[in-house]
Amino acid sequence: MTLFDLVIRSMRKNIKHYYLYFFALILSVVLYFVFATLQHDPSVVERSGGSMGAAFKVAGILLLFIAGIFVVYANAIFLKRRSREIGLYQLIGLTKGSVSRLLIIENSLLSAGALAIGIGIGILVSRVFLLLLMKLIGFDGFIEVEFSTAAVIQTVIVFLGITILTSMQMLVAVYRNTLLGLFNAEKTGEHPKKPKAIRSAFLAILGIALIAFGYWLSGRMLNALLFINMIVVLVTTILGTFLLFRVAIGWVLYQMRKRKKGHLGLYNSLSLAPIMHRMKGNANSLTIITVLSAMTLTMLAGVYSLYYSTEKEVRLIYPFDFAFDDFWYDDGKGAAEKFISELDKQQITYSYSTVETLEVDGEFEGGSVSELMSNSFGAYIISDKQLQQAGVDIEVSDSDAAYLYDAGIYWLLKTMEVPFNIELSNAEIEADMKVVKVSEGNALNTSAMTHLVVKDAFYHELKELFLNDENEWRISNTYAIDVLDRDQLAEASAIFKRINEEDDQHGFDYYSQYASGMENNGLFIFISGFLGLVFLISTGSILYFKQMTEAEQEKSSYATLRQLGFTAQDIMRGIVRKQVFVFGVPLMIGLLHSIFAIKAASFMFMSDITLPASIAMGIYVLIYLMFAFLTVGYYRKTVKAAL
């Protein structure tokens, strides 16, 4: 019998062991290939100029790392399960060299098979992903997925690399381990020791304190040390999480167990005891899974919120569909009228209004508001009546105070206590003004100025105060146009763009900002969703694989328990408890981490993101729970077959 025959025979016999590793390989190939296909797809390339291309590249590298780590991890579990077999080959007289060759031939066959199947599946599903991507970035045209040779080559190269890596892993397993070690590898598991009381208590409290500090700091990061703060938060929470798993949880479990004084009971014997038994070895992977889950959750929730709120946020910055003013245009009125006549020609219905603004200089009183912004600003004072006439729903309640609008610095001002005073001036006269409310978004489309909206009567008082013959330029008009039929908005936007180009003007309108926002955020959400899915599948699978191995190791215990007269249902109840811990604790801590992270990142949003963030988290939890159910199913099968 040649070595190759032996390979084929052992593969046929071991199919149960292989399928786990094979599945992990195929999954990685499919995901990577789909990603590579999209990266090379002409319709994506065409739309992904500049930032999008870069995003794809970064995501590709990230994906490469995840796929690599995932496959290496699955291979490690796979090798551990087969260590007895590897030992047996050596026992019957195969040299280490032949055993290595055998394993490497096997590995190459498996990888080649996984590549072929994975690329096959990838070709089938990449169309779905492309459609999803195009839908997300708001493209409705017909899309044809082209078979991409470049994607195939890229995938093959990547997995060739990964196969070399796993082969080296196998070499290490063969050469580094003694025969005895190989035979006992499956039995290894540490034995819980009595924790050293003072040291453990100290480390446990330190871990919790680190996490608490990280949470606390995450709410106070917005100052000049923003970047350092972010790193400190990251390091303290990760370290705290590790200590939590390594020491704190073990310590709590130990205390719980000690209290039972030997009367542990069946359910605890199947949950508490094996968890403690493996806590040290599992601390690393649980920490990694928790941190990865937290990052994925944060990324998904953040990006989904971004996508979800695009329309609202753009509307907040651009309250009018189109606006012409004398700040951006040489002749605002002329440009507006030209635009209107074009709209008339295309039979687009619209509303047209003029809003008068008074320009003054402003300064925040009482020192600096934030190190991240200047204390003085240019301001437009606007009458609320005129805004209402233009269709903006703003009403100022106080007769001598202003509502402040500035989308650019809203995230810094929103935490300020109102009312506060600002100082206005026109270079000659100075006057104090009370701000009673900092509102989200802008009052006019112009982002260059801070908008102070006041009662109409107060507006005229201020106009009288600041205006004289020499500075009539301080009064200017904004000509606002809203398209009535929303279906004609895209057409109107195209006209707007054409006119601007003709007259060499730079103006921004609501629709084009919205469209490009959707396109950017759509791509963003797609890439992060894709990566999130990969993270989720990898972490879920790793937990599943680990639990599968544990189930195999504990099979004899289940047989004993069945013989002692416990039913499969009794045993399953204990096992479900263990799974609640194994899956639940990393998920719960990950969720908690991500809630704080999202809260810290919420300054980026003007609108409330509780809903979209909750939806994203809900979906994540659902998919994650599927792995828990799969695991419980596997245990059920093992327990039932035990007797």
């Binding site: 034995h191 819980p192 004084k261 030997g262 009367h263 542990l264 009971g265 069946l266 359910y267 014997s269 005891a273 094996p274 403690m276 038994h277 004899s556 215990s557 047989a559 004993t560 328990l561 069945r562 013989q563 002692l564 007269g565 416990f566 039913t567 009794d570 007797l643």
Partner: protein, 259 residues
């Protein structure tokens, strides 16, 4: 003499076959066996005689193909799986050759496992544990893990686990198979004491004549049938041992060669 005792186990015409159509192998060929309260029964026989199969069937771990088994008043051959589990937990105790202790649990936790879902109160269980652990001499090992104790101690733990729920009957499958001779005789002596002092009925499968000489009765199996039976009566253990050897010599088989 036997009539004054209560019957604990009564097996009638037990048959057990394995395999599928065309390739059926009958391992037990109609065995009748009656065990009285307080007996210490040894089952002997060559490899393949059906010892372990008989034990498994009597201990409700396996099902018979034919025949009825009464333990106490319950006909276990008619019970459903669920009832069998409850029955095992409440009425039977088990000692296995390779101990079958859970290595994630301490000695005490292992011993108390069988009473965990039962009705026994914690205080009663604690008393029960103390008295059994005393008899078996493992009380000071209570907080040790199985990997920290010797084979003999493990088997004592296993025996304590079998006795904790005051079973009507204890089944032992080659309990000394993995022990050295000193630990083995010490364990058997303890089992004998437990049998005599606490009146626990024990059925033990073994191929070791020394082990079976501790029994009050030895049943010999051959090819799935009962070949003969020996009662110890008032004989010394040494004399009983010689008698067992004689029967085994007639019976033939590997265990004689092994001596």
């Amino acid at each position: 003499m036997m009539d004054q005792y209560k019957t604990v186990l009564h097996a009638q015409n037990i048959r057990k076959s394995y395999g599928t159509r065309g390739n059926v192998q009958e391992v037990l060929k109609g065995i009748d066996l009656r065990v009285m309260e307080g007996e210490f029964v040894g089952i002997m026989g060559a490899s393949g005689a059906g010892k372990t199969t008989l034990l498994n069937v009597l201990a409700t771990i396996d099902r018979t193909t034919e025949g009825s088994i009464l333990i106490g008043d319950s006909d276990i051959s008619k019970m459903k799986d669920r009832e069998l589990s409850a029955f095992r937990r409440d009425k039977l105790g088990f000692i296995f050759q390779d101990y079958n202790l859970l290595d994630t649990l301490t000695v005490k936790e292992n011993i108390l496992l069988p009473v965990s879902l039962g009705k026994m109160k914690k205080r009663v269980a604690e008393d029960q544990f103390n008295s059994i652990a005393d008899i078996l001499g493992i009380k000071e090992l209570a907080d040790k893990y199985p990997h920290e104790i010797s084979g003999g101690q493990k088997q004592r733990t296993s025996a304590a686990r079998a006795l904790i729920n005051k079973p009507s009957m204890v089944f032992a499958d080659e309990p000394t198979g993995a022990l050295d001779s000193k630990s083995a005789s010490s364990l058997l002596g303890t089992l004998e004491d437990v049998n005599k002092q606490r009146g626990v009925t024990i059925m033990m499968v073994t191929h070791d004549p020394v082990a079976s000489s501790y029994c009050s009765r030895v049943v010999f199996l051959k090819d799935g049938n009962i070949y003969s039976e020996l009662y110890r009566g008032d004989k010394t253990r040494q004399a009983f041992f010689q008698e067992i050897l004689k029967v085994q010599g007639v019976l033939g088989g590997d265990s004689v060669d092994a001596l």
